[in-house]
Assembly symmetry: C2
Homo-oligomer: 327 residues x 2
């Protein structure tokens, strides 16, 4: 970076350092000729205002923090890809932190300290609740994408997908197609799993629930396949997964175990997956419209930064069922 100083520009333009600074920051009270001259000199000399100094002087930060457990899935990668580009186009600086949940709360605290040190103007949490940064949210506006706040949490802005709707869509579709024996393939610890269990109980259909651990999924999936093969019923069976990546893994293993999909067992899952049509058995999915998410998010970010004390904005975006051959 060239070390052209503001004083050099002022000297060349024959004005004070203060005047040059005001002109470069957009002040219009000076003559058009002088303003153009200062801007021209600054441009030609490659002058870059010192970011740290400017940030300090204005005491206002233009950094928007984004925090997510991973970008190794198409839903989060898609949202964050658009979000980073849109935030930057709106002249803010998006700062992305990634902390895997398996690495625990310490990693999360370390990222929250970074967000504090950077003096972020606002924090966006993407599809993650476990690590809500309580300390930070007391001072910095929080926008949560993908989840609704549990009842015991402090209120904030959010754009959520309604997990009750996911469970209803899945259940309605399976009933509609004549499946009578329904298996819940989500963990009862997840919101989606709980909501689907509620729908199952309401439905009066035969059903069962298999608990999945996070740490040993392959083993758990093999156990589920073993149990499914032992179910003695003539009724048509279907399984619901709250995570498409898991459903993809399950389908491979089920096909290997000579289970025919959907004849022996139908599969439906929650989460947008760009390659669902290309799978051995194209997978019926309940999708999040991820483009809408980042568009609406940028509107809320702009609004919140301009209106710190206005009431919280809460939006719920509807899902889309895409029926493929697996059901």
């Amino acid at each position: 970076m060239k070390n052209i100083k503001l004083q050099d520009i002022a000297n060349k333009a024959g004005c004070s350092k203060n005047t040059a600074s005001l002109i470069l920051r957009g002040a219009t009270k000076f003559s058009k000729e002088l303003a153009e001259q200062v801007k021209e000199i600054a441009k030609n000399s490659g002058y870059i205002p010192n970011y740290a100094a400017r940030n300090l002087a204005s005491q206002k930060s233009d950094i928007i923090g984004i925090y997510t457990p991973t970008i190794n899935d198409p839903v989060r990668a898609g949202i964050i890809n658009d979000l980073i580009q849109n935030i930057h186009k709106a002249n803010y600086k998006p700062f992305l932190g990634i902390g895997t949940p398996t690495n625990g709360i310490n990693q999360s605290i370390s990222w929250m300290n970074t967000f504090k040190h950077l003096n972020v103007a606002l924090l966006v949490l993407v599809a993650q609740y476990e690590m809500e940064p309580k300390e930070l949210t007391n001072d910095v506006p929080l926008l949560v994408l993908g989840c609704q706040p549990p009842e015991n949490k402090i209120p904030h802005d959010y754009i959520a997908w309604d997990r009750s709707e996911v469970a209803r869509i899945a259940m309605d579709h399976l009933i509609d197609r004549g499946y009578e024996y329904i298996i819940n393939g989500c963990s009862a610890n997840t919101i989606t799993g709980q909501k689907f269990l509620t729908e199952l109980k309401k439905s009066n259909l035969s059903h069962t629930h298999f608990e999945l651990s996070i740490t040993n999924q392959t083993n758990d999936l093999l156990k589920i396949i073993d149990k499914i093969q032992k179910i003695k019923t003539k009724r048509r069976k279907a399984i619901f997964f709250g995570d498409t990546l898991l459903a993809v893994k399950f389908m491979d293993m089920a096909l290997n175990a000579k289970i025919k999909i959907p004849k022996d067992l139908a599969v439906i899952s929650y989460d947008y997956f760009p390659w669902a049509d290309s799978l051995k058995v194209p997978l019926t999915t309940i999708c999040q419209p991820i483009e809408q998410m980042s568009e609406k998010a940028i509107d809320i970010i702009k609004y919140r930064l301009a209106n710190k004390n206005s009431p919280f904005i809460n939006k719920v975006i509807p899902h889309k069922l895409i029926v493929r051959k697996s059901t």
Copy 2:
């Protein structure tokens, strides 16, 4: 954020502002009692050092810029996911910029200005050469991941995958399997496409090359399928793609057009894809070992920041062929 000032802490501890500042930045020349008292007061009052002020005072930045065209593919998402976590664990602040190449050079310039404003200590470019930030690289160390610099570019640190190796691995595998009529499905504008064309010419096998545009891929793929169906040869045919996401799309369309894979046409592609086994026809791929990339990258980042003027580090990481049913 609470507005506790350094002066308040100094007042409470009965020392000067300068002493409090030095203690909080880790100086050990003061009494243990005073040091502990200052730290305790700072902790209890929720004092956060002003990042902008600190950055300005030290004139040293701990921000590492990362720039990539997209995170909507598993290779870049995987590398960047690990990179952001590792950079943060090493006590630097990773700042990710995303600029799609289709949005052109203006977007790239705008991100480069942001990196300058943030005074990044080093810039990492992930699998992208078109937008090499010439201006920035004159002043800021550059680490390129995934690509080797073309001859006319300025030298810098890189960890690359060798595209000649990709072309050789693909060609050797196809010859080994007895394919005699080879189609190059890469654009001749890409490094991989050029290298594969060179290998094709060396091989003395029958071959053809179809040029793909970036803007209308679906249409181009349909044209390629049409042309392949018109090829009059008894020799066994195979096609190579330099982009697995494109190969996945192509395979769906070819299967729809009743082309049998690999009987009528074998398919092999370049790029790690986590779901290659789950596709209708599991796809033979030449993979980048992405975990190695971020591990080696963090070593180079640390080394370069400590040794500004040392010779450039250039590493080439080998590929891995994973043979599946498509060849």
